[in-house]
């Protein structure tokens, strides 16, 4: 279709001269700013609770650094596959692009499965739940919220992989933009985990 039909709203596709971004990208960055405030508030709460003495540090928690490291590697890899997906679409290689999208989603699902079974379920069996101690309360809260964000990302990737793939044919430029925005979101979710991991598992 012609570009005019898809850009009745200015800058849907063409970047704005001042911000250098198209609408969706700018919108996503703003959304990420609010997400930084959300996770920032939770990290600050962790700091406040820990300083307040809400949970003793030594020996209190038994989070597996090994599992955490594996999950970190998985997520970082998924960020790489996400970029590769976007690059492939930009280079007009939709087959490769879809493959990398699928890889990203699968890696994300692996992350979630490991978290849910090897970590959450295991802890529940040991009797360690959110109400056991405030450390675990905030651990479950933050990793849970992060996990929900991953689920959201998987749903979006799944959408663009399957039902939403039609847009590649009708409006490839906009499709690429959407993959780019998804990538931005995905990198952010990865970044949150890069902070979560040391705070809960290492420090």
């Amino acid at each position: 279709m012609s570009t005019t039909a898809t850009e009745v709203l200015p800058h849907t596709l063409t970047p704005h001269p001042v911000t250098g971004m198209y609408n969706g990208k700018f919108g996503l960055w703003l959304f990420l700013a609010s997400e930084i405030m959300l996770f920032g508030a939770l990290f600050s709460s962790y700091v406040l609770l820990r300083v307040h003495g809400a949970f003793p540090h030594h020996g209190e928690h038994s989070l597996s650094v090994k599992i955490g490291t594996i999950n970190t590697m998985i997520l970082i890899t998924s960020s790489v596959t996400m970029v590769l997906a976007w690059a492939a679409f930009k280079l007009n290689e939709p087959g490769k692009g879809r493959m990398f999208l699928a890889a990203t989603a699968l890696l994300a699902i692996a992350f979630l499965v490991i978290k849910l079974t090897l970590e959450y379920q295991h802890k529940y069996h040991e009797g360690i739940r959110p109400d056991t101690s405030t450390f675990y309360a905030i651990y479950y809260c933050m990793t849970g919220l992060h996990g929900l964000h991953i689920v959201g990302g998987v749903i979006v990737i799944g959408y663009f992989l399957l039902p939403g793939f039609g847009m590649w044919k009708t409006n490839p430029e906009q499709y690429i933009n959407r993959i780019e925005c998804t990538g931005l979101y995905w990198h952010f979710v990865d970044l949150v985990w890069i902070f979560l991991f040391p705070v809960f598992y290492l420090l």
């Binding site: 009745v8 609408n23 919108g27 997400e35």
Partner: protein, 591 residues
């Protein structure tokens, strides 16, 4: 995204009026819904004021109905119960702020007017806009539904301080089916709706302005919405986080906010403990202070528009106004703990927050002064919108000035959590913001409907509203100076409460008369929408872009994309033929 525009088939009723992506339809949806919520929230207070004026007397007319319809609010004689008083109070605050004023000021006015004022065909993300309304509405319904669940609605204040909010409303076995948990769930919906909206506003304002509309040619209303959107975007997430944590404390028995060793009603609480009630307060007020600027900024924007138009001259100090409002938005993030002076705060923190609070009073004073100076040398037309806009000025002054004794911690010792606080913030929101919103309704009604509201009914609405607003809230300062606490079901058992009871009665009668005073408005609103005098595109002879579109504007807003040639308030330009030079008319066509 906007591929609908390429097709010209008429959408059906559902697509056109219900699930529309047109910012104008969404704006009207927000406006009408929030006006209904405002009415409900105000009614709750009218009920409470009966108990305050006539303690332990059964509520007339509706006491019996309340006893049968709703749990936990009145006893079987129709007298308001203490827990019912607390529930109505908590819900009054919540509904007015989150379901009434903000959705009307931002979702209603912002959505409808802003894209028109920047010459855009719609918002940057029309479907996101629609989504934000349809997330707002369920949030509101959840809030209202909470009155009908076991234990009744949330009753721990709109501030929901734990441990009270965590230990309250726990009748019944289902951990979700109670008032406080539903309040938290409702808040999550409302916050999400707000976040979606604020992203949309910012991208639209930055990216979708037409050619010639540089930032410093934007109407002041657009600047106000711009700053407001940043406040909503960045301040709400901490409350979302806090809401999730409080939900976990209630449903999963975590101890984010629950210290160890609590004994509630003789029962030792089995929490893991170690949590901090102050953590909630910091997270809550980190949002809630910017939130109050969200309440006032759009109103200031509206007042600016109406004053410029009805003084027939540019606003005084446009640049000063813009810098002030940006500074105000920024400062609003660093004053929050002035709500927490009495939590055991020491000198370092209190000095910091007192200082920032004093600093934030400066841009407010500048904005008010600039508006006053805008009246100097004017040719003031006392139209109905202008009456409300003018009245806003002294009312906002009283509200703002009475913030000073509260913002200094030493005087706050005596005034904290007294009626003085209630008087202060209501002056800013009620005779302040709400009257500015009325100004906006009367002003933009012709654009939305193509008809003017009736002037006589408008004046009949204005004068009693102004008088009774003062009748309700001025006495509260006297009651507060005597030290009478807030949120008391019966103040008369206290010596100071007993002595000030006549003021309380005056507030109550003022409130009921204020309610009656809205009847001319309600009648006018509906009558004029269908049978009001028809007007053309620009009945107020205004300069900003929305008046260049037809009344009402069609889908896509402007038959021809406008171009902007000048600033927003070029009224009475020396040497010009008319006393107004619209932004979109080239110089050649003006002279």
């Amino acid at each position: 995204m906007s591929s609908d525009h390429g097709h010209h088939h008429e959408p059906g009723f559902i697509r056109k009026y219900l699930f529309s992506v047109d910012h104008k339809v969404i704006g009207v949806q927000y406006a009408v819904t929030s006006l209904v919520f405002l009415f409900i929230g105000f009614s709750l207070m009218m009920i409470m004021r009966w108990q305050l004026a006539y303690p332990s007397a059964p509520i007339p007319f509706i006491g019996g109905w309340l006893a049968s319809a709703v749990q936990g609010v009145v006893d079987k004689t129709g007298t308001l119960l203490p827990e019912g008083y607390n529930a109505l109070g908590a819900m009054h605050g919540t509904i007015m702020v989150f379901l009434g004023v903000v959705p009307l000021a931002v979702g209603g006015f912002g959505n409808y007017v802003m894209p028109l004022q920047i010459g855009a065909p719609d918002m940057a993300f029309p479907r996101l806009n629609m989504a934000s309304y349809w997330v707002f509405l369920p949030g509101g319904i959840i809030m209202l539904a909470s009155f009908f669940v076991p234990g009744g609605a949330a009753n721990s204040g709109w501030t929901a301080y734990p441990p009270l909010s965590v230990t309250a409303n726990v009748t019944g076995t289902n951990p979700f089916w109670n008032g406080q948990t539903m309040w938290l769930l409702g808040m999550i919906f409302l916050i999400t709706s707000s976040l979606l909206g604020s992203v949309n506003f910012i991208v639209t304002i930055v990216h979708l302005r037409v050619k010639g509309l540089q930032l410093f040619r934007m109407p002041f209303f657009v600047w106000a919405q711009f700053v407001t959107a940043f406040l909503l975007l960045l301040a709400f997430p901490p409350l979302e986080a806090a809401g999730v944590m409080q939900l976990m404390d209630r449903v999963f028995d975590t101890s984010f906010f629950m210290p160890s060793g609590l004994v509630v009603s003789g029962q030792l609480q089995e929490y893991s403990g170690g949590g901090s009630p102050l953590l909630w307060q910091h997270l809550f007020w980190f949002l809630a202070h910017p939130e109050v600027y969200v309440l006032i900024l759009p109103a200031i924007g509206i007042v600016g528009e109406v004053i410029a138009n009805n003084t027939r001259k540019p606003l005084w100090g446009y640049r000063v106004l813009v810098y002030s409002i940006i500074f105000l938005g920024f400062m609003s993030f660093v004053v929050w703990a002035h709500h927490m002076f009495l939590t055991g705060m020491g000198t370092t923190l209190s000095t910091f927050f007192q200082t920032t609070t004093m600093i934030i009073s400066v841009p407010s004073v500048v904005i008010l002064t600039a508006f006053l100076l805008s009246l100097y040398g004017a040719a003031i037309r006392f139209t109905v919108p202008m009456l409300f806009a003018i009245a806003f000025l002294p009312m906002f002054a009283i509200g703002g000035l009475t913030g000073l004794p509260l913002g200094l911690s030493a005087s706050d010792i005596h005034l904290h959590d007294t009626y003085y606080v209630i008087g202060h913030f209501h002056y800013v929101v009620a005779p302040g913001t709400i009257m500015a919103l009325f100004a906006g309704i009367y002003y933009w009604f012709p654009k939305v409907t193509g008809r003017k509201m009736n002037d006589f009914l408008g004046k009949l609405h204005f004068w009693p509203t102004l008088i009774f607003m003062n009748a309700v809230f001025m006495p509260m300062f006297f009651v507060g100076l005597q030290g009478v606490s807030r949120r008391l079901w019966d103040q008369t058992s206290y010596v100071t409460g007993n002595e000030t009871h006549n003021w309380v009665k005056m507030s109550s009668w003022g409130a009921w008369m204020l309610g009656l005073s809205q009847l001319p408005f309600i009648i006018n609103f509906f009558y004029s929408a269908f049978a009001g005098k028809k007007v053309a595109a620009n009945p107020w002879a205004a300069t900003t872009l929305e008046w260049a579109a037809p009344s009402p504007p069609p889908h896509g807003n402007f038959p021809e994309v406008p171009v902007v040639y000048r600033g927003p308030y070029e009224y009475s330009v020396p040497g010009s033929r008319q006393d107004y030079s619209p932004q979109h008319v080239p110089d050649a066509k003006l002279a």
